[in-house]
Amino acid sequence: MKDIRKKINLRTFFIGGLFTLSFFALIFRTFWIQYIDSPELLVKAKDTWERSSALNPKRGEIVDRNGQVLAYQGKAYTVIARLKPYPNDKKNTNYVSNPEETASKLAPILDMPKEKILQRLMRKDVDQVEIRPGGWKVPKETADKVKELNLPGIGLYEESRRYYPYGTFASHVIGYTNLDGEAKMGLERQMDEQLRGEKGSLKFRKDRLGNQLPGGVESYKPAKDGNKVVLTLNHQIQSYVEDALNQADAKYKMKSVSVVVADPNTGQILAMGSRPSFNPNAPKDIQNFTNPVVSAEFEPGSTFKIVTLAAAIEEKEFNANEYYKSGTYKIKGSPPVRDHNRGIGWGWITFKEGVKRSSNVAFVILGYDRLKKDRLFSYLQKFGFGGKTGIELPHEARGSFDPNRKYYPRDIASITFGQGVTVTAIQQVAAVGAIANGGKLMKPYIVKEIRDPKTNEVIQEFKPQMVRRVVSEDTAKQVRDLLDAVVNEKHGTGQPFALPGYHVAGKTGTAQVARNGHYVRGKYINSFIGFAPKDKPRLLVYVMVEEPQIDTPSAGGKIIAAPIFKSVMERSLQYLKLSPDETDGHTTEIMGDESTVMPDLIGKNVSQAKQILGQAGLRAEILGNGKTIVRQYPSAKAELTKGSAVYILTVKDGTQMPNLTGKTLREVMELASLLDIQVTGINGEGYVITQSIQPGAKVKKGDKLAVTLAPKSTTGAAQPEGEKAKKHKEESGEQNIKTAN
């Protein structure tokens, strides 16, 4: 009996203990996983998630010189439709049951005809369709609208695509990457290798059914995101160019118009744009797939004379004050060269006058008669004509100039003033840039840096490159002076391009369009190339207008090119004038010791207070003639900028009114509260010009003060009464601002 009970007890105890123990073990293990192992496990888990998404690299960004994003890879959504019911889940009604209604609701959002959507929704052969092209990779806003409709069977699938935040903005330069991810034009295509990145790969073991086995990763190579391409373009200057082009495009009809802005000292392209253009976000009806600035070859006309002139000066064949007979120049066996006023000319004039009036005869004498073919051609070659400049843009053309070709004498004569030869815009920018910077031909470039997408470290940097010295500094200076005369002196052809306040030097060009070896009547290419300020050029702007359709097409330069040139040049110069990136170097340093803290002065005597304020870099305005300080403004520990004025009051009552002239409203208010007086009448804005309590008068608590203020930008001139009244009316309008209660 006892034995049996003992046995039972023992067994019960043993089994119960075992259960308890295993429960504890279980709880302990759960606790361990949840709290002790969890960070490690989380990292492991994240690793797996990330691996699956990291296989496709992210295309690199394209940014301007200041880091403004011009192209980036972002999220996009594709609209998909489930067409049939689910075979193993009859209750799930999440499929398109009413194609007609679905299509008509989607049509306006996806910008696709209803019939086309319907056609897709009615397909019998598949279970699911993407609604292309309207619903293919749409931005988030559109996707949200689709989501709001809450249509059964319509879903969204997240993908990525290229976005161009500024739309039509340097489109031909940047180019575009289409929805399939293929780089199509411009830098997107040229820099594709850098931007594209490398695909990753993941190999793993699978079981018989194709499921991945746990821990079965065989090899794993993460995707490498594409590099960031930093351009030399300046977003701000580019936007001035786009503005000017838009205005010209809206106002006039022409075949095309292009603008280039460059820094002649480094060869960096700061802006480049043309019309007709396209929106790279939705590239449709692109009229021209190449960038006209680098790919279009055309006869430059008179802008080319700059090169002839520079060559003649360098070879000492030019004397500004020498006279020649303008009008016509005869060449044996061919029609004579004539000046642009139908060969009438201006009689005997100096060469300087000839340059100013853009006389063809002057340049034929200089280039054809004096320099002769060999010397002329060697200079043309030195200036870079007939060869590619090497800018990082696709499809660069060479132009027709080739020194080894056989030229007839009349052709050589024509070349001296820019006819019978074709060039590209970028060649001219480089050549004239050499004159602007003092004789060095710089390689034009547009890609400034390649940076790592994650660390933002510079992987590759492109520095200004001098190709060769073409003329001496002195020659370049003489040419600049003559080009200055073209714009800023009487009879100069460039006068419409003058900018008040800036010294612009430049040259106009008008060339007739040649087709099949004949010049076409009434079709011209007008251009202007100019730089400013004349002696230390910071900007070179080139404007080209092709075949303008206006009443006097030969005046296209004056009518169309001049406003573009002027607005781009003026706004850009203003922008560069005190652009922060110039002061960047010493800003931080100044900022460091710029601020100071207001000391506690109450109870101190005046001379002590003055000394303390002096050390803190603050200006003291002492009110009253007491000995100790009773009040101060601002209160102690307030942060201040060095050099600002603080007020200290030495007597409680009966202070003298200080002179307020030139002070601001806020200072008046601050003073008033310090002196315990009320400011009742305030007229105008800006800085005090009159005050109702005269300086020196004793004030006591509760006195009323009125002030009249005026901005300094109109320097004291009182506002006309009418305007004042209007201003007051405006001010009362502000009263409808939300009142909090």
Binding site: Q236, P500, G501, S567, E570, R571, Y575, K577, L578, S579, P580, T583, H586, T587, I590, M591, E594, S595, Y633, P634, A638, E639, L640, T641, G643, S644, A645, G662, T664, L665, R666, E667, M669, E670, A672, S673, V679, G681, I682, E685, G686, Y687, P711, K712, S713, T714, T715, K727, H728, E730, E731, S732, G733, E734, Q735, I737, K738, T739, A740, N741
Partner: protein, 257 residues
């Protein structure tokens, strides 16, 4: 066989013990309920003292009124979060409220007022504080208060005030102290346009967008102007930054784009 006899005896003992214990539990329960009733009837369970700290602009009475707390209400029923949200949502000048309960019966409301970034002046010269969320506190005209914030003289578009207030809040206090007047004068092309009159005599033209970032340039900009020996003038601090002395403005008037 002996086993069977023993079991009923055991049961009897058990029952006796159980009845004793049940009685004890019932008694305890009875006293507990009695105590509870007494507690809730007495003044110990009620709110006896409400205090407000940290309010400068807003009056304590106003805060208490909006808290919906009153004397002699059940102390235990006071929900801290509910009280706080009802005050914050009713009084825009207040950013947050911390409700501190001390037993018995004491409630302390620790108010944190919203930072005020500017004053708005109407055409009668009255000043109203503007919070960092852009709300004009019209019921608290500041007559005696120290004017230690920029004064908004003209504001055309009410919807833009919150954005601007947020920007102003972000701005370095040292620079904020330099601003005297702010005028919002939108033009057709530039609905964001602002004109600022600075204490050191410069007139700043800028825009609401990125106001704080743009104004951060001001001290170093002025510093470099002074180093170059330039006089006072107009400084444009938008995306474009330029300077024009006052005199030039006078001679060739409206040259600016």
């Amino acid at each position: 066989m002996a086993n069977i006899e023993k079991i009923p005896r055991l049961r009897k003992e058990n029952r006796k013990k159980r009845t004793n214990r049940q009685l004890l539990i019932l008694l305890l329960l009875f006293f507990l309920v009695l105590l509870l009733v007494l507690f809730f009837q007495s003044s110990i369970s009620r709110v006896q003292d409400i205090s407000v700290t940290g309010a400068q602009l807003v009056s304590p009475g106003e805060v208490i009124k909006q808290s919906h707390l009153h004397f002699d209400m059940q102390y235990l029923l006071v929900n801290k979060e509910k009280v706080a949200t009802s005050i914050v949502s009713a009084i825009p000048a207040i950013e947050s409220v911390e409700v501190r309960k001390t037993f018995p019966g004491k409630i302390e409301l620790v108010v944190k007022e919203r930072p005020r970034v500017a004053f708005l002046m109407n055409n009668r010269g009255e000043l109203y504080p503007v919070t960092n969320k852009g709300v004009v506190l019209r019921q608290y005209p500041s007559s005696d208060e120290m004017v230690d914030k920029p004064i908004i003289r003209l504001w055309k578009t009410e919807q833009l005030l919150p954005e601007f207030a947020e920007q102003l809040d972000k701005l370095d206090p040292g620079i904020r102290r330099q601003i005297s007047e702010i005028r919002h004068e939108p033009t057709k092309n530039n609905p964001d346009r602002l004109i600022l009159f600075m204490k050191d005599g410069f007139e700043v033209h800028t825009v609401i967008q990125d106001f704080a970032d743009n104004m951060a340039w001001y001290p170093s900009f002025v510093q470099s102007l002074k180093r170059e020996g330039k006089t006072e003038g107009i400084i444009n601090l938008s995306e474009v930054k330029w300077f024009e002395p006052y005199k030039q403005q006078q001679t060739n008037g409206n040259k600016q784009p």
